[in-house]
């Protein structure tokens, strides 16, 4: 059993639609800044057990902030970095949790890790990129990478 490309998109669309009231649509991943290029915000969860891998959500700092403002329903000026991390971490937690439900049991989902700033690159040593999707939301981009650990 593995994760289908369409399932990643469906889960992300469902999360963004339900909790942010925003529509996502897939764009050509070749136009992405991609997993090897820097992003300003990333959130990661790991799945371990019968299936081992990671899910990484990446985007610009501005889009992460926009998502957090919408989820908290507060004005941008009142939002701090910890709240952006909380919201972005919860987004990857939902995507990772729903993907985990498609995978063989038993397995465990880690708590999310969030990195902000500095055009950083997240790598998972010993793992290979299983699939990636690039989604667009009103001009903002969201990248989702699924890594499989050998």
């Amino acid at each position: 059993m593995t994760i289908k490309h369409e399932q990643i998109i469906e889960i992300a669309e469902s999360v963004w639609s339900s909790f942010l009231g925003l529509s996502l649509h897939e764009v050509d991943v070749s136009t992405s800044t991609g997993p090897d290029s820097g992003h300003d915000a990333s959130a990661t969860v790991h799945i371990s057990g019968s299936w081992n891998g990671s899910v990484i959500l990446s985007c610009s700092a501005a889009f992460a902030r926009r998502c957090a403002v919408t989820m908290f329903q507060i004005v941008d000026e009142d939002l701090d970095d910890a709240e952006v991390a909380d919201a972005f971490g919860e987004l990857v937690n939902m995507i990772g949790g729903n993907l985990k439900g498609l995978l063989p049991e038993p397995s465990q989902l880690s708590l999310p890790t969030v990195t902000q700033g500095g055009s950083h690159v997240v790598t998972i040593p010993g793992a290979r990129l299983l699939d990636q999707v690039e989604l667009e939301c009103d001009g903002d981009r969201l990248h989702i990478a699924v890594w499989l650990r050998a």
């Binding site: 999360v15 339900s18 909790f19 329903q73 709240e83 939902m94 949790g97 049991e105 708590l111």
Partner: protein, 120 residues
């Protein structure tokens, strides 16, 4: 009626509270806890009618909170609100005494359907 929302994410506690209101439970009193251990303390102090609890949390997770409550003889109505809704977890939740498991992302309609037997 009083509902305790247990989740390590502040934004998720906020969303759960908002969704409760959208589901029609506008007069329900809400109290909050950041993890299972804090949840135990709040339940003892506040005596909620219902606990809405995340599964995956630091300090003490949701299933350990529920198991501890039942071992203490505490029969407060308990439901999970979690990003993971696998058959195995649903079975574990039911066996431990949970009334329902709502998977994130959820809707006000899903809340209403799950909570109606408890909150009316």
């Amino acid at each position: 009626m009083k509902v305790l929302v247990v989740d390590d994410s502040r934004v998720m506690r906020s969303i759960v509270t908002r969704t409760l209101r959208q589901a029609g439970y506008s007069d329900v009193e809400i109290c909050q806890a950041e993890n299972g251990r804090e949840g135990l303390e709040v339940i003892a102090a506040e005596h909620p009618d219902l606990v809405l609890c995340d599964w995956n949390m630091p300090e003490m997770n949701g299933i350990d909170l529920l198991t501890t409550l039942r071992a203490q003889g505490q029969q407060v109505a308990f439901g999970f609100v979690t990003s993971e809704g696998s058959p195995e977890m649903r079975d574990r939740a039911e066996a431990a005494g949970a009334l329902f498991l709502l998977a994130k992302p959820f809707t006000p309609d899903a809340f209403r359907e799950a909570l109606q037997p408890v909150l009316g």
